[in-house]
Amino acid sequence: MMLSKRSLLQALYGLTAMTALGRADSGLARTPALAAVDAEAASKIGRAWLAINPSDAAGLRTAVFGASAKAPDLAARVRAEYRRGAMFKHEGWFFSETEARLCALISLAA
């Protein structure tokens, strides 16, 4: 999967603006929270995820954003993953699987 970092982050920013807080705060769309995510550090998480889930790389974008045009509610999905223990632990940190895949997308775009 070849995605430019710019286009990936643009996609993420748009999706983030659709989260619950995004809806409550329309300013979030203009100040995308994901812009603050350190791509280099996130890439480390992403590479660690892909190292143990190499077959995941091909379907990452669909896994994170879904196939429909409708923006997913990432926060709800992430929370649900935590609740059922669908987590990835890296250097002590617990991430939901979607968070890990987001980091994997960032690593591929970097």
């Binding site: 993420l12 983030t16 989260t19 619950a20 807080l21 995004g22 409550a24 705060d25 979030l28 929270a33 994901l34 603050a36 995510v37 350190d38 280099e40 550090a41 996130a42 480390k44 998480i45 990432l74 926060a75 992430v78 929370r79 649900a80 993953e81 935590y82 609740r83 223990g85 987590m87 890296h90 250097e91 002590g92 940190w93 617990f94 991430f95 939901s96 968070e99 987001l102 980091c103």
Partner: protein
């Protein structure tokens, strides 16, 4: 009645009372407070003086080692001497004052926790917890595990069934924080006409009569006289290590020691698994992150003048994860954010992006329940102390279930916080490093465990030795399982319950 320095008594002195209490620590003193001004004549035999003394403290020394699967043994030879105090007031001299009741699940028999289950439930202790709170000048804790009345903050975990707030409060009688207040607490029983405190009176043996009851106690002062003490009833209240040591060393009539036919004395030694983590900690990069939009004031454990709370996992969640009880204690002290480019910084940013919340990094420590293990035990060393007594030695064993429970609890907290969008958790402690990472808890428990039947423990539900009708034990050594709170309030509640029993037993109710 006076406080007597036993070193000035003549050799061969015979002390007599209705009730002889061995040990003037918090358990023994609470008993005395409860029995003050009653018709019961009480003698408290304290091995130390009014204040800690280095020479007397050496009587506590002994070898100790911690063992756990996958970890190198950790020798802690200073532990037996430094984790308790031989003086009137006992370890209360260094006690920080933190108190809370055990949770209902701590009393329950849990199929996923071997040797769990007390002979009674949380409800049985409720009136005694209330009275213990009065003694220790604490707000009373509701039976349902809720917060004391008037607590000015709400729990964060109200939104999630997986996370509970377990209440804590600091007693103003902490010897470490307010020695003068603690001294007044220690001195008060001696003002009663029926209480006589003997200092420097070291009990060296319980002697049994032909009926298998305690006939008398042998006492010895360091470089001083030898004496005896006789009573109608005896209570061992010398601490979780010394109670076992004394029973094992009293082996003249029975080679296995007193109250030890079932071979439980000294076994199941438990502390708590206490691991502190932090970004600046050389052990790792552990942080708890919680959304600052939530009110965390309830979890601030620094103010001593109001209740606070620690996080625990809901009992159903504990069962689902197959873990023991575990608490997460937060520090709300300002903490530098992880450095840019560090994994922690990225995790916080990612959390902020997903949840749309600003997060801050907070330190926390986990305190995890240790499973009772018969091979975790106090035994007698071949070495003797200055009184000629065999020293205690400790082999403190953790099992794989303890490591699994610790890690499983950390996972459970990550699920609970993440599942409600409350935060993210880092738990970087590697299982192979647990022993070197932990602070050896000074909560000595389990060595004279309470049980419904003689085959499973040392004392019954009344804290009476199964095998010795006139012998009782007070203190955290009777805890069958450790639960997850500092043990002082519970041992005080049990002492009050025992005092009521003894008043009835001795016809003074």
């Amino acid at each position: 009645m006076p406080v007597t320095d036993a070193r000035g008594l003549p050799d061969g002195e015979q002390i007599e009372a209705d009730l002889v209490i061995v040990g003037g620590g918090i358990a023994g003193l609470i008993l005395a407070h409860e029995l003050a001004q009653s018709a019961v004549r009480v003698a408290i035999l304290e091995g130390g003086g009014l204040e800690p003394d280095a020479e007397l403290q050496k009587l506590y020394d002994g070898p100790a080692v911690m063992k756990g699967p996958g970890n190198p043994d950790r020798t802690i030879n200073s532990y037996l001497g430094q984790s308790r105090v031989r003086a009137l007031g006992g370890s209360g001299h260094v006690w920080g004052g933190k108190c809370g009741p055990l949770d209902a699940i701590d009393f329950a028999s849990r199929p996923w926790r071997p040797l769990s289950g007390w002979p009674f439930g949380r409800k049985e202790l409720t009136p005694y917890y209330d009275r213990a709170c009065d003694h220790l000048k604490l707000p009373r804790f509701p039976q349902d595990g809720g917060l004391p009345q008037g607590t000015p903050f709400k729990p964060l975990g109200e939104a999630t069934a997986a996370l509970r707030a377990s209440p804590r409060a600091y007693s103003p009688l902490s010897g470490r924080v307010d020695p003068a207040a603690f001294r007044r607490f220690c001195d008060a029983p001696a003002r009663a006409q029926n209480i006589h405190i003997y200092l420097y009176a070291n009990v060296t043996a319980l002697r049994l009569n032909g009926a298998g009851e305690v006939d008398h106690l042998e006492l010895r002062c360091l470089n001083g006289p030898q004496m005896t003490a006789r009573g109608r009833r005896y209570v061992l209240a010398a601490g979780g290590i010394e109670n076992a040591r004394l029973l094992l060393a009293s082996n003249k009539e029975r080679p296995e020691g007193v109250a030890n036919a079932s071979d439980w004395v000294g076994r199941c030694f438990q502390g708590h698994v206490v691991i502190t983590t932090g970004v600046d900690d050389p052990r790792g990069d552990a942080e708890a992150m919680l959304a600052t939009s939530q009110d965390l004031a309830l979890y601030d454990n620094q103010p001593r003048d109001r209740p606070h709370a620690v996080f625990v996992l809901d009992p159903q969640e504990q069962q689902r994860l197959g873990v023991g009880n575990c608490t997460m204690t937060l520090s709300l002290q300002p903490k530098p954010a992880p450095k840019a480019g560090a994994l922690g910084a990225s995790a916080i940013q990612l959390y902020g992006a997903i949840e749309g919340r600003t997060a801050q990094a907070l330190d926390f420590f986990l305190m995890s329940e240790e499973a009772p293990d018969r091979d975790s035990r106090i035994t007698l060393s071949a070495e003797t102390d200055a009184l000629g007594q065999p020293r205690a030695q400790l082999e403190w064993r953790y099992g794989q279930s303890d490591w699994d429970s610790l890690n499983g609890s950390a996972t459970g907290f990550a699920m609970a916080f993440g599942g409600q969008g409350l935060g993210r958790i880092c738990w970087p402690v590697d299982t192979k490093d647990v022993l070197t990472s932990m602070s050896p808890s000074r909560h000595h428990m389990g060595t004279t465990r309470m049980s419904a039947t003689p085959s499973q423990g040392v004392v019954d539900a009344d804290c009476r030795a199964h095998e010795v009708a006139n012998l009782y034990v007070a203190g955290s050594s009777v805890f069958p399982t450790s639960g997850l709170v500092n043990p002082t309030l519970t041992l005080a509640a049990l002492a009050i319950r025992l005092a009521d029993h003894l008043k009835r037993d001795l016809g003074a109710a």
